[in-house]
Amino acid sequence: MAELFALLANVWDTVRFPLGGAACLSGAILCIIGTIGVLRFPDFYTRVHAASITDTSGAGLVLVGMVLMAPSWIVVVKLFCILGFLLLTSATASHALVNAAHTAGLQPKIGPMANRGHEDEEEGAH
């Protein structure tokens, strides 16, 4: 039984760095996808939705990757604290932004937005 545990610990030590690296990399890719969304979406309210990908899955995966590669339990505890505070505050920050825009009277674009990007380009060409 002790040998089995030693073997498992050995395997885990070998596997956790590639796994953590892969998680960090996919988190970074998700952050880039969120940025692409921010650039493509038509108005302020829809851009907040794209930014929330960066807030939740992007930051979450990067932190999970760092947890997998963490050298000690102290670091793991700190990373989980960061994750908890990040999830609580990023949602509050998006709500504050959107609420401020709504209070200031910014009207959201409502309704289907198919190919809106092309129309804008044509308008810009005139």
């Binding site: 309210y45 929330s52 990908i53 102290i74 990023s90 609420n99 709504h102 409502i110 289907p112």
Partner: protein
Amino acid sequence: MAYLLGIFFAILAFWMGNSGYYKPLMLGFAALSIAVTLFACARMKLIDREGAPYVRLFGWLAYYPWLTWEVIKSNWVIIKACLRADLDIHPALVKIRTVCKSDLAKVTFANSITLTPGTVTVEIEGDKLLVHGLYEANTVPEAFLEMDRRCARAADPAEKRA
């Protein structure tokens, strides 16, 4: 007194998890800082039901794994929306009514909606929430019924529940 002890153990666990040094000098600093924090909490009148929400711990433990799965599912929808060659988004603004009674439950519900990509709470007025969504199909009031029910179960005190 129970609330004071609850805050004390939370701060102690936080210090232990963040420090990692257990020499007498460092533990003395810990005792000092915890005492100062508790004194500040008492002066700011934070030592009450909301300051030490241990009663709802099990409700939260049941709620957050479910919320994580919801966040992952809706992340996938928004990732596809970001990368699709033709934008097919259909933004909508809807007003939904919540069954949550206490402020904490309402905040949990609104925060969960905002945390889920694709929907964001714009305004809370009484028991009505104004929600902006990226897809109209995902923003109809029926889509939030289960989250609403689970929030009420996790954060509302039992006597207030409808």
